[in-house]
């Protein structure tokens, strides 16, 4: 499989790159080295279909994606200007037929993304050597194909992909146990027996205390009660023989640990899971990431990049990217406007208790403390937030009103989506709902030994939107392929708790 050899950037583009890089850096953007490559639309579509990577394992869905992109392009419906991937160094692809103005815009935009990849906390745990990793995955899958046959492997990948979104996107950020640092022998480290003592204490649920306070801080009767509860729970668990203890969001991990998979299947599933985790932050930060990049391309372009001749074309393409439609919130638009709004508010000091308590609209309109904190604030925002917390923290009633936002809902009777509300609280709630878990249903493993028969029991956390039933059935079918025993999912249909089941041959739906 030929991989494109690195082609040097034409001199005129290299000059633009240098200029843009300098500009971006002068504003305090901080990015990995960025390598630009000029490609034609077919190549760009291929990269896009592959999620930005030149090599992926063989699978038809990439072909489907490619077909769609190429058709969309040839019918003039859509066009990708650029592609950038979160690696170190960053690779970015420019479309060869872009005009020079577009290339400038795109390069500036890419530097925004690169800065975001490097600095946003949600990207911190991602593998920056993913380029190698993807190629690695591809060669592993290819090996299995050679060994077990194309269709066998493909069918298995299909089944895995069906579950690829059943991961816990927060888990890479959670340290459930302190990393063990046995090797470190610092003079401050406690002696061995003391640590042993501490461990025992923790196990009993005791807090650290001075001896004379111990009876108060760790009252014996409470401790005893706790012990009994624990014993009781453990007995219960042993009797029911169900696991995991707590519902587990990372269904893929659960499958890896407990499903009866063969060696290669285990590996393929872990590949799918790895890639899902790699791409998860991009889903979590779509609005912020695009908003941030757009903020910077517009800042750099309008302040420095444009010649007089280019203004019209730039304005045309910028506004095209920012276009809104009633049915779809444009993440570019929402993102850039929110960043601008935050910048303005922090520049003028429109925040804090004083601002919140002010009821005088005229006062609020005139409000300008001339603090100039805007830039610093948006840099902070891009560091710590993801889309959900971003919207939750910074969406204001004024903003909603100014941008004519509304929430819409599906009207079952008319089979139409209708404008539901223009009230801030409802818009915000709706927006947060559709951003949470990337708009996907939240599903956990509740029991891996359901009815003590080794059956898998999932639970859908119902939050007002029902599962699409035909998809749910098909997904259960795929789940059963991995688990090899009957599988169930508990959900809510028309206000009733029901359990959908698949036992390998028939689908069932029973009230819970």
């Amino acid at each position: 499989m030929a991989i494109s050899v690195q082609r040097p950037l034409p001199q005129h583009l290299a000059d633009i790159q240098d200029e843009m890089e300098e500009r971006a850096a002068s504003y305090g953007l901080d990015f990995f080295d960025t390598i630009f490559e000029v490609v034609d639309y077919e190549e760009l579509s291929m990269m896009a279909a592959y999620g930005g990577f030149p090599i992926r394992y063989p699978h038809w869905r990439f072909g489907a994606q490619y077909d769609e992109l190429m058709k969309g392009y040839s019918y003039g419906l859509q066009k990708i200007y650029e592609m950038v991937i979160n690696t170190d160094p960053c690779y970015a692809y420019l479309l060869s037929c872009n005009s020079l103005t577009d290339q400038k815009l795109v390069i500036a935009h890419v530097y925004g993304h690169c800065d975001f990849f490097k600095n946003n906390a949600w990207f911190a745990p991602t593998n920056r050597r993913m380029l190698d990793q993807m190629a690695n995955h591809a060669s592993r899958v290819n090996r299995y194909i050679d060994q077990y046959g194309y269709e066998t492997v493909e069918r298995f990948i299909d089944a895995c992909l069906s579950l690829e979104d059943l991961i816990d996107p927060h888990s890479p950020h959670i340290r459930r146990t302190e990393p063990i640092r046995e090797a470190v022998k610092s003079p401050l480290a406690k002696p061995e027996d003391e640590r042993e003592e501490e461990r025992r204490r923790r196990a009993e649920g005791r807090f650290e205390s001075k001896e004379y306070m111990d009876a108060f801080i760790n009252p014996p009767d409470v401790l005893q009660q706790e012990q009994e509860d624990k014993m009781h729970k453990q007995r219960e668990r042993e009797e029911s023989r169900s696991f995991p203890e707590e519902p587990q969001r990372d269904v893929l991990l659960f499958m890896l640990e407990h499903a009866p998979l063969r060696g290669w299947q285990h590996d393929v599933l872990s590949i799918v899971r790895d890639e899902a985790y790699y791409f998860a932050p991009q889903g979590q930060t779509k609005i912020m990431n695009e908003g941030w990049a757009s903020y910077w391309h517009s800042t750099i372009m309008t302040k420095h990049g444009l010649t007089d001749a280019e203004v019209i074309e730039y304005a045309d393409h910028h506004s095209g990217t920012m276009a809104t439609s009633p049915q779809r919130l444009n993440p570019y638009k929402l993102g850039i406007e929110l960043f601008k709004d935050i910048e303005e508010r922090w520049n003028k000091g429109q925040f804090g208790p004083e601002w919140d308590d002010c009821d005088d609209m005229r006062e609020k309109q005139r409000w300008d403390k001339d603090l100039g904190l805007g830039r610093d604030k948006i840099f902070e925002v891009r560091r710590v937030h993801n889309d959900v917390t971003f919207v939750d923290t910074y969406l204001t009633p004024e903003f909603c009103h100014k941008h004519k936002m509304f929430s819409f809902a599906y009207n079952d009777a008319a089979n139409y989506y209708e404008i539901a509300s223009r009230e801030f609280e409802q818009i915000k709630q709706q927006l947060l709902n559709s951003l949470t878990n990337h708009g996907r249903p939240i599903i956990s493993v509740v029991d891996g030994n359901y009815r003590n028969r080794g059956e898998l029991y999932l639970k859908h956390l119902f939050r007002g939107i029902e599962l699409k039933l035909d998809y749910a059935r098909d997904t259960l079918t795929n789940l059963e392929k991995l688990w090899s025993r009957p599988v169930h999912i508990e959900t809510t249909i028309e206000d009733h708790n029901v359990v959908l089941s698949f036992d390998g041959s028939t689908h069932e739906m029973k009230p819970k």
Binding site: M46, T324, S434, G439, L469
Partner: protein
Amino acid sequence: MARSIDRDLTRFKDIVRGKVRDNLRKYITHGEMMGRKGRQVVSIPVPNIEIPHFKHGQRGGGGVGQGEGEVGQPIGRGQDEGDGQGQAGSEPGSGHYREVELELEELAEMLADELELPRITPKGQDSLKSKKDKYTTISQNGPQSLRHFKRTYKNALKRLITSNEYCPDNPVIVPIRDDQMYRSWKTVHDPQANAAVIYMMDVSGSMTDDQKEIVRIEAFWIDTWLQSQYDGVQTRYVIHDAVAKEVDEDTFYHTRESGGTRISSAYDVARSIINREFPPNDWNIYCFQFSDGDNWGEDNNGCLKLLMDELLPHCNLFCYGQVESPYGSGDFIRELRRINDDFENLILSEIDSKNAIYDSIKTFLGKGR
């Protein structure tokens, strides 16, 4: 450069073709793809193929948008539950069909597999040739645009050297008239098996649009199949009520006459087309006649006579499809059945609804003639 995406794209297309193949019966009886015929390809709407996930349905779903509008104003259509893609949460009303392009050849192949059609052995004649000019030879005269520079140069060089005029220090070569060489063509004859298809249709008042739709669908598949079997297929269309005339394809499907029905008039026109354009010794002739079977009683004998004497002896196949109209089905097919045993190239089929198209095509083309 071989790109890895080609491998995935090919695989995807194979899967889609598999889907088309699996559902071919449905596609045959529904006219969905007929309006989508290009020269060599048809594009077929196939329900999107995707990997199932647990996802939200529409009920209780919604999203956030931007723009003008009162509360309660509809902004977009939902989809019919049960099929389709699209994340209801964020993007209502996205399409859920994928256009798949198939070569006609491939479609014919599928049709053959599905209906178990035997390949047609063309009538053994190669008297009809197609001519093609190929620029493979050299000639001494021709237009300047075809001048063969290399040969002309060589000739001139040879001439200069033999006449001892060539001077290595000043190697100027000037060709004269005799040196000039030109590319030239040779006419190549290709033996070709040709087929002529004549469609006849009753357009009298009793044939409604539904019947014509059936005819249209059948004709599409017949064309597809015959085109895959012959190098060149010529198609002629004849419509008739009490009188018949030859028309183009568009008129054929869209004309509506009132009045009576005399099938013999169509046979007469068909005969004259064959005599005029398609000498039966050179051509494989196919006649397809569609009617609701309501003929003027006294015309039937004339029809049979024309058919037996003039048409059947010359045709590979003569297919009669009787479509059922709201006014009932006529009895012309019964007349034809009387002579059915004597002519094995006469094929009769009754098509009472769209669902019967499938079997009808099988009956028509199942002989392998």
